[in-house]
């Protein structure tokens, strides 16, 4: 066993007041598969087992993690174990008192999303009036002394605001801004035609990022998550399958990443049935694509396989129907024409991420 996990993403609930059409949660988040959320003591056990397995970084996410009334207790447990905890939140109705309580419990870092640089666009994309709460919460994090990451998912309808987003993060005194081009999983894949950026939009935004990085230096770290469909080679997804990262879903399923649950050719285990170390070391889902023995051509003989690990298994499955082929983003993949066709996508309509739509999609399978 060469690799031990460093990162755990704990998806505490799939409930969320926001309805972002690019959400990475499963389309059927409101369906029967995800109905029973883990209890407080079950999460605390997961954290203890994760720490013993080697995890050092904990992401508390969802859905909206602040909807869990036991969040303070979970953070206290994580802090006691020495995990570095990050809250990944929409900040909807997040009060200064609640943030102060999370700080007292030992929370290390706060990441707050925003959907656009102004209220009108941000609220329109979120599908829920939330911009005002976000701005208020940004200020609370500074007043309470939290390191702050501003997270923006980029797509066709907000890429023109990249300069304004960076200025917003700068004016808030944030440590980091993540400009995350949409990765097409979950709801984002469902809404791909409406989210797909143009090459011209990406080129302009990238110029802004380079200029602003030069101006801001270490004052504000600007993270640019590549729009992988527009690249020639695939991303080194998760640093390789089951090498450093795991996700636990609200109901206790353990996935090698937060999108993997959609791969129907894999069997996923649950923390209610097995200890975390057994799942990491022995489960089918974690072992299937570990290392490079599973790789077909063109990956098998490719010198890049140690850099990109064959790309993303979820993307291979979602685009081609086979999780064991080269990521179709790769220009050497025989499936690349499927990606090129998707780049032409242009739709004005998207489906907001909401429980009724999710139940309808779950019923369809």
């Amino acid at each position: 066993m060469d690799h031990k996990p460093l990162w755990l993403l704990a998806e505490l609930t799939y409930k969320c007041p926001l309805q972002c059409p690019y959400c990475s949660n499963p389309l059927d988040f409101a369906g029967p598969r995800f109905r029973r959320e883990l209890a407080t003591e079950e999460w605390c056990r997961v954290f203890r087992e994760a720490k013993a397995l080697g995890v050092l970084q904990l992401g508390l996410s969802g859905g909206e993690p602040t909807l869990r009334p036991d969040l303070e207790e979970l953070i206290r447990t994580a802090h006691g174990l020495g995990l570095y905890s990050s809250l990944i939140t929409s900040a909807y109705r997040l009060s200064k008192e609640r943030l102060a309580a999370l700080k007292a419990a030992g929370l290390d870092h706060v990441q707050i999303s925003v959907q656009g640089a102004d209220a009108e666009l941000s609220d329109d994309i979120a599908g829920t009036r939330s911009y005002g709460d976000k701005i208020a919460a940004y200020h609370y994090t500074r007043e309470l002394g939290f390191p702050l990451t501003v997270n923006v998912v980029l797509h066709r309808r907000n890429l023109h605001q990249v300069a304004a987003m960076i200025r917003l993060a700068e004016s808030l005194g944030a440590e980091r801004i993540e400009l995350a081009n949409t990765q097409f999983y979950g709801w984002a894949l469902h809404n791909r035609d409406a989210l797909m950026p143009t090459r011209a939009q990406l080129a302009t935004a990238w110029e802004v990022v380079q200029r602003e990085r030069a101006r801001l230096g270490t004052r504000l770290e600007i993270v640019w998550v590549l729009p992988d469909y527009h690249e020639q080679f695939p991303k080194p997804c998760m640093g390789g399958w089951a090498r450093a990262y795991m996700t636990v879903t609200p109901g206790g399923e353990v996935w090698p990443c937060h999108a993997a649950g959609r791969i129907t050719s894999l069997t996923f285990e649950n923390v209610r049935d097995h200890p975390l170390d057994w799942i990491w070391e022995h489960s089918d889902a974690f072992n299937r694509f570990r290392g490079d023995a599973w790789m077909p051509e063109p990956c098998r003989s490719c010198p890049r396989k140690t850099q990109d690990f064959g790309g993303c298994r979820c993307q291979a499955f979602l685009v081609t129907g086979d999780a064991a082929v080269t990521d179709p983003v790769c220009s050497l993949s025989p499936h690349r024409p499927l990606i090129d066709a998707a780049l032409e996508g242009a739709s004005e309509e998207w489906t907001y991420r909401a429980a009724p739509a999710s139940r309808t999609l779950a019923a369809k399978g």
Binding site: A52, H109, E175, T218
Partner: protein
């Protein structure tokens, strides 16, 4: 970031935590979305960085502990590298 001077008092940025990694038998720096693996000496240096003790004091302590001399340049280079990443600050 200013390079370390003998009078500078280095400290970890408040967002950074020095943490023992029991599973791998090493110390690490943890910060938002990141991690730096430390050598035993690197961890020793950072444990002295409290924003009060000067670089010169820290070097003296280490030179005494390891019975060596001329460590100042190595220590300053190490701290400057972390300062360039925004993980170490100089001054109180």
């Amino acid at each position: 970031m200013s390079p370390a001077t003998p009078l500078a008092a280095p400290r970890l940025h408040p967002k950074v935590r020095l943490q023992r990694d029991d599973v791998r038998g090493r110390d690490v720096l943890l910060y938002p979305e990141g991690l730096v693996t430390l050598s035993p000496t690197g961890a020793e240096i950072l444990k002295q960085c409290d924003g009060v003790r000067s670089l010169a004091d820290i070097v003296t302590t280490l030179e005494t502990r390891y019975r060596e001399s001329g460590l100042e340049r190595d220590v300053a280079t190490f701290l400057d590298g972390l300062a360039a990443k925004g993980l170490v600050l100089y001054g109180p």
